[in-house]
């Protein structure tokens, strides 16, 4: 914190506009705090609604149960996508933006009313959209591909929601410039830097979404006669996939924070970590093309160049984080004295601390199941045997649910007590919740992935095909039956894990014991430790005469990850080559 910021914060605390947190010693703006509360609570409400819909969908896809009828299955599938991919995630991310630009910078928000306006627009639009989608007036899925048409209100409220989110993103930039201008911050804390990267991606994403939805709205009210199906897909995925890249970046920021909170980890190298975010900003928007790899309209080379994030520049960014996160944990643990052997640091890690288990499980599932499957699926030719099968939702649930959602849950185990100043009501449940949720998502992911691998389509109500003309029993075999049991049971277990999270969060927010010093024994004393100037010389010149590896355990883990990556990558080419048709 700069001296200017410290003085200003002290004045604000005396004036009753801020408070000093007893646990973190941060100066917290009351406006920011209330905004974080509202955004966080609403995000959890949407998570709960989306979770209930998730169970309904899974119990319908599990052909042995087949719960909903076709009409409701398609309605709920669309609404679930919107509630989870947009509402839960975005409200939580706006809370993250406010946290990153206010709380951890010890500064007051410049213009709280604009943030409230953003929240209000987003909240009203989100509720209305869910209502419209469940009413059956907009059964067009989250993707809303024209010329399949929804009621024009659907497009209008989509645009309004995006406007709300855009206000929040623009406010983030304004707040940051203001903080710099007033000397409240120099170089940004890494978490704020991550949120800045997320906001840059969000800007592109929302502009892309506007370009997709505004003409579609005009078409739905009859002003435009025609919307080009191919162009819409290109623009929509600039929004749809872009939105997931925001999640990726925000999640990595949260990973760093969880590592700091639970073991006192600091990034191994500020520059390398920031470079990885920069690589993602520069290249990841090209991932929009992932969704249109088997579309007419683009040359194979243009699809290959885009989908490779131009020679996998963004993948490299993610591979850097794959090293830097565990390396930060390993070095912190070694500093604490768990320095012997290769994996002692990992064995002695706080596995009962929900923030740490969420970090590890989210990191593992995102990287191994979500990340690898994503790169494979984004290979132009391999995409032919995966496009629109259940492998696609298997992939993005591993990234967004097992990855981002679990990381956000982990962070909220600290954020909720600190911001609401209440003690956890069910701390014991918090200890096991990440494991239950991750176990459920793993089983669900494997089941769904293998069903997709066998060719089963996503968003398909009845893969037994009943007795319609030209019906087939291709999807009735042992592999699919077993996969669907995994899909169903996994969803139920993850549902239990999700419910445990929501129950604890809601109970804590409304009935937790009020306290100015929430009981959070898992927060590491080094969680907010600034750089130590005494370490500077060693950092600049120490490497020359060092013999062993700095983080051998992490290196072994990442090389094992790389080998698995290579095996799965090679397997996918082999499978493509075993298709019994020549396609040119």
């Amino acid at each position: 914190m700069t001296a200017e910021a410290a003085n200003r914060a002290n004045d604000s605390i005396l004036a009753g506009l801020m408070r000093r947190c007893n646990v973190t010693n941060l100066a917290v703006d009351h406006n920011a705090e209330r905004l974080i509360m509202f955004n966080a609570v609403i995000s959890v409400v949407f998570l709960a609604l989306g979770g209930i819909m998730a169970l309904l969908i899974a119990l319908t896809r599990w052909e042995a149960v087949h719960l909903l009828n076709a009409d409701w299955y398609y309605r709920v599938t669309g609404a679930h996508g919107a509630a989870m991919l947009i509402f839960w995630i975005l409200f939580f991310e706006v809370a993250g933006l406010i946290f990153g630009v206010s709380v951890i910078l010890n500064r007051r928000l410049l213009w709280p009313k604009a943030w409230w306006t953003a929240f209000g627009i987003m909240f009203v639009s989100a509720l209305t959209l869910l209502g419209i989608m469940l009413s059956g007036e907009a059964t067009v899925m989250f993707t809303a591909y024209p010329p399949l048409q929804a009621t024009s209100w659907f497009y209008l409220f989509m645009i309004l929601f995006a406007v709300g989110a855009l206000i929040a993103v623009i406010m983030f930039f304004i707040e940051l410039v203001n903080a710099r201008y007033r000397g409240e911050v120099g170089p940004l804390p890494l978490f704020t830097f991550a949120m800045l990267a997320a906001a840059v991606l969000a800007l592109w994403t929302l502009v892309s979404g506007a370009a997709a939805f505004i003409p579609t709205y005009l078409w739905s009210i009859g002003v435009l006669g025609h919307v080009d199906a191919g162009v819409y897909r290109l623009l929509f995925w600039g929004f749809g996939h872009g939105a997931q890249q925001i999640n990726l970046v925000a999640m990595v920021g949260v990973w760093y924070v969880l590592a700091a909170l639970t073991v006192g980890a600091r990034p191994v190298n500020e520059g390398v970590s920031r470079l990885a975010f920069l690589l993602i900003i520069l290249f990841i928007h090209m991932g929009a093309i992932h969704h249109i790899l088997v579309d007419p309209g683009f040359s194979e080379l243009s699809r290959a160049v885009n989908t490779s994030y131009f020679i996998y520049g963004a993948t490299l960014g993610s591979m850097i984080h794959a090293l830097s996160i565990p390396a930060a944990v390993e070095m912190a643990q070694r500093r604490k004295g768990f320095a012997s052997g290769i994996f002692t640091w990992l064995k002695k890690a706080p596995w009962k601390e929900p923030g740490f288990s969420s970090l590890v499980l989210s990191f593992w599932l995102f990287g191994v199941m979500g990340g690898i499957s994503g790169v494979i699926m984004g290979t132009v030719q391999v995409n032919m045997i995966q496009h629109n099968t259940l492998i696609v939702p298997a992939h993005f649930h591993m990234t967004v649910v097992a990855g981002t959602t679990l990381a956000f849950m982990g962070l909220s185990y600290y954020l909720i007590p600190l911001i609401f100043r209440r003690d956890h009501v069910f701390p014991g449940m918090a200890k096991v919740q990440p494991y239950v949720f991750a176990a459920g998502m793993t089983i669900w992911g494997l089941g769904t992935g293998f069903a997709g691998h066998a060719g089963m389509s996503r968003r398909h109500w009845d893969s037994t095909f009943g007795d319609m003309p030209l019906a087939t029993d291709i999807f009735q075999n042992a592999q699919i039956d077993i996969s669907l049991v995994g899909l169903g049971l996994g969803a139920l277990i993850a549902g239990v894990g999700g419910a445990m999270y929501v129950i604890n969060a809601v109970a804590t927010v409304f009935t937790g014991k009020r306290t100015d010093t929430p009981h959070l024994p898992g927060i590491d004393p080094d969680a907010l430790r600034p750089a130590d100037p005494a370490e500077r010389e060693a950092a600049l010149h120490g490497h020359d005469h060092k013999r062993g590896f700095e983080f051998p355990g992490t290196l072994i883990l990442v090389f094992a990850f790389l080998v698995l990556f290579m095996i799965l990558y090679a397997t996918s080419w082999f499978e493509l080559s075993s298709v019994n048709w020549t396609i040119e």
């Binding site: 914190m1 700069t2 398609y74 951890i104 010329p147 399949l148 911050v185 170089p187 978490f191 080009d228 199906a229 191919g230 006192g264 600091r266 990034p267 191994v268 190298n269 500020e270 520059g271 390398v272 249109i292 088997v294 579309d295 007419p296 194979e300 080379l301 290959a304 490779s308 591979m319 090293l323 045997i385 496009h387 629109n388 066998a454 389509s457 398909h460 109500w461 030209l470 019906a471 087939t472 600034p530 750089a531 060693a538 950092a539 600049l540 490497h543 590896f549 700095e550 290196l555 990442v558 790389l562 990556f565 290579m566 080419w573 493509l576 298709v579 048709w581 020549t582 396609i583 040119e584």
Partner: protein, 181 residues
């Protein structure tokens, strides 16, 4: 030893330091892997693979496409299967496959080992061409033709499932390709 701050704390102005040896090692290997994947996709597979994703694409008016399909069926129809015409085209003709809510028209009868040019398009909303059980998938849009050169290598009945949501009867949309020796 690293000179870094908690991610929740602003670093000092002189935060920069060179990457350590362990990090450089991983950066190099990960970078090499990234380039290898690119080379595989852009150079190696296009040279050796039997399944390429080179869509021959054209713009088409949906009503024109419907007319092309109708005359294609008229010219080459050999039978009917559960209400859908069955067409047995010679290998040197363009094959038209029409997607609509909620049908694939016509049923195609192809010769094993022959190469066909198949032109797929939609006359209403978006659909997904999913050839099962081989699991080959392409997007089908109105106004665009998704054109492919395909050669079946094994005789049998193949199912075309629609795998892009196309309305409340989406799951009813099934088609067939019969490959004969």
């Amino acid at each position: 030893m690293s000179y870094t701050s908690s991610p929740l704390v602003a670093p000092p102005r002189d935060w920069w330091q060179p990457a350590g040896r362990d990090e450089k090692l991983w950066l190099g290997i990960a970078g090499a892997w990234a380039v290898s994947m690119f080379v595989m996709m852009v150079i190696i597979w296009p040279a050796i693979g039997g399944q390429q994703n080179q869509i021959h694409d054209y713009r088409v008016d949906p009503s024109d496409f419907q007319a092309y399909t109708a005359s294609f069926i008229e010219e080459h129809q050999t039978g009917e299967l559960e209400g859908t015409p069955v067409v047995s085209p010679p290998p040197d003709t363009d094959i038209f496959l029409q997607a609509s809510q909620f049908a694939w028209t016509p049923v195609l009868e192809l010769q094993q080992g022959e190469t066909y040019r198949i032109l797929i398009s939609s006359i209403d909303v978006q659909h997904g061409f999913s050839l099962q059980p081989d699991n080959v998938n392409f997007q089908v849009l109105p106004d665009f033709i998704t054109g492919l050169e395909i050669t079946p290598h094994e005789a049998g009945e193949y199912t075309i499932v629609c795998n892009e949501f196309c309305g409340l009867g989406h799951h009813l949309m099934v088609g067939q390709i019969i490959v004969v020796e």
